[in-house]
Amino acid sequence: MQDLGHLIDQCIAGEQKSQRALYDYLKGRLMGICVRYHLNKEEANDVFHDAIIRIFKNLEKAREVRDFNAWASRVAINVAIDAYKKRRSNITVSIEESEVWQFSSEELDAVSKMSASEIIVLLQKLPESQMITFNMFIDGYSHKEIGERLAIAESSSRTLLTRAKKKMIRLISRREESGK
């Protein structure tokens, strides 16, 4: 962490080598987030580009944060959400479902045996609004926060997450069946 702090200071001072080093340090993980939040590679590239620029331009703030990696990831997630919101001005969710869907322990075991890439392939099969909501759920956002960030009601967030879980459970089950 001491080295990372020094690297950040050098980046703020404008040293190109340090900027490149910090970029190399962050790029894989940030692109992972961008791929997770977006449907295609080109869009993920755009979000990654904007996120990395935002991180470099706000490095002064990064000095104050305790966990730089978590901060950088949160910046990338915010940029990804903003990009999604920019494209989708209104998210309309019809709330007709009262059914509650939960992952069973077998399904969670199956998930834990999958690779990250396999999980992302499943996530990308969800409709975009559900995929974003599910990703935000994974990243620790509450329904209230999801509602605020996506400019939807808290109840809509719950509905979207329920639908996402329902579809994920089906996808996992189908995958397990085809595997057997």
Binding site: G28, R29, M31, R36, K57, R87, Q102, I120, I138
Partner: protein, 394 residues
């Protein structure tokens, strides 16, 4: 509230995805590098223009007050005139003569054979002579020094430094070397006055042209700009030849009117998605092209003689230009909007050569369009830029 099943699911997914890394295109770094620390060109342009303007106006205002005060009434002129160079030469000669006589006497005394008593008497006489010489010198120099000191204090509000004045006066203290007092050359009111009469002169200018994009938020087209051309790319260069007519209003103010032809280029690099809210898979369409425009223009404004730096006159001007396009490639582009006539604000600074020189007047200037933000286009563009104008000094 979140149930334990949700917490468990979140943990499983998070553990799997937390460390997930995806490959990044190698060319991405060069794009990122070019934008780290970059500021919007429009903001940069205005920031530097305003700072420059404030600086110049401050200097010009201060300098104007300073010069005006010196020209209007300067009692030091009378004192300076009252100390005639001849007086200083006479003073110098008197002191010099005294010293030479003393040296001669000393030499003669040293040549003869002297008794101890004679030596004592001679020493006393020499000392007496020295004190006498000092008295004479003090009598001659005192009024001159006093008047010179008065002159320094009264000239303190003129644009000469005390150091220069002291250098001029210092020979007074040297009995052997003295030079006649010289008048300090000051630009007179006549010299700083603008040359009367209407002036017509041709000029040429090189410009660098940029576009500020402002997407229309009421439509369903999503825009994203790309920086592909360098700030000083050849794709942004323009030429502006023309004639300038200057009509004096007062000593410092004049009306400035330019008639010119303007050939300029813009580099447009953006990507966009039509029907952005309805499309699920996003594919950007790219627009990357260099557009040229040719127009006839007229600038009308005021020119203010700001200050004189090292005999170089510096003028500040502000004006509004009107341009009518004879050729406008931007108007044929459906996505972008450009009117067929353009109003722009112009700001400039003319730096003249020294009065004796017949070289070029250089005028750096900036401009920004005022009427290009038409609401009917998906993206509104505001042309802006800067350039350097050259006139032949006559």
């Amino acid at each position: 509230m979140e149930n334990s099943s949700d917490q468990k699911a979140r943990k499983v997914f998070n553990d799997k995805l937390k460390g997930f890394e995806a490959p990044v295109d190698g060319a991405m770094w060069s794009q990122v590098q070019s934008q780290i620390g970059a500021v919007s060109p429009v903001r940069r342009f205005w920031k530097w223009s305003i700072l420059l303007l404030i600086l110049l106006l401050s200097i010009g205002f201060g300098s104007g007050l300073f010069n005006q005060k010196a020209i209007d009434s300067n009692p030091a002129d009378d004192v300076q005139k009252s100390i005639e160079p001849n007086e200083l030469v006479i003073a110098s000669d008197t002191v010099q003569k005294e010293v030479q006589e003393s040296i001669q006497q000393d030499a003669m005394s040293a040549e003869g054979d002297l008794t101890q008593h004679e030596s004592v008497v001679l020493t006393e006489r020499v000392l007496e002579d020295v004190s006498k010489k000092e008295e004479v010198r003090a009598q001659v120099e005192k009024p001159l020094i006093e008047r010179s000191t008065d002159f320094i204090s009264m000239t303190s509000n003129k644009s000469v430094t005390s150091m220069v004045m002291l250098e001029r006066i210092s020979p007074l203290y040297s009995p052997l070397k003295i030079e006649p007092f010289e008048m300090i050359n000051q630009p007179t009111a006549e010299e700083v006055k603008t040359k009367k009469g209407i002036q017509l002169r041709p000029f040429g200018a090189v410009t660098f042209n940029y576009l500020y994009f402002q997407p229309n938020t009421s439509d369903d087209i999503f825009f994203d700009s790309e920086s592909t051309a360098n700030t000083f790319s050849i794709n942004r260069v323009g030429l502006r030849p023309g004639f300038e007519v200057t009509i004096p209003i007062s000593d410092r103010l004049s009306l400035k009117n330019d008639v010119y032809m303007n050939l300029r280029q813009f580099r447009v690099s953006l990507r966009y998605i039509e029907n952005a809210s309805q499309s699920e898979n996003i594919i950007f369409e790219r627009l990357s092209k260099t557009y040229s425009q040719f127009s006839l223009g007229l600038v009308s404004g005021i020119n203010y003689q700001l200050m004189t730096i090292a005999e170089r006159r510096v003028d500040f001007d502000l004006g509004i230009s009107f341009e009518r396009f004879l050729k406008n490639e931007l108007s044929d582009e459906g996505i972008l909007g450009s009117p067929n006539a353009l109003f722009s604000a112009n700001i400039g600074l003319s730096v003249y050569p020294r009065p004796a020189s017949r070289s070029w007047i250089i005028r750096p200037f900036g401009f920004i369009s005022l009427n290009s933000r038409a609401a009917e286009y998906p993206v509104n563009i505001t042309p802006f830029g800067f350039g350097i104008q050259f006139y032949k000094n006559r």
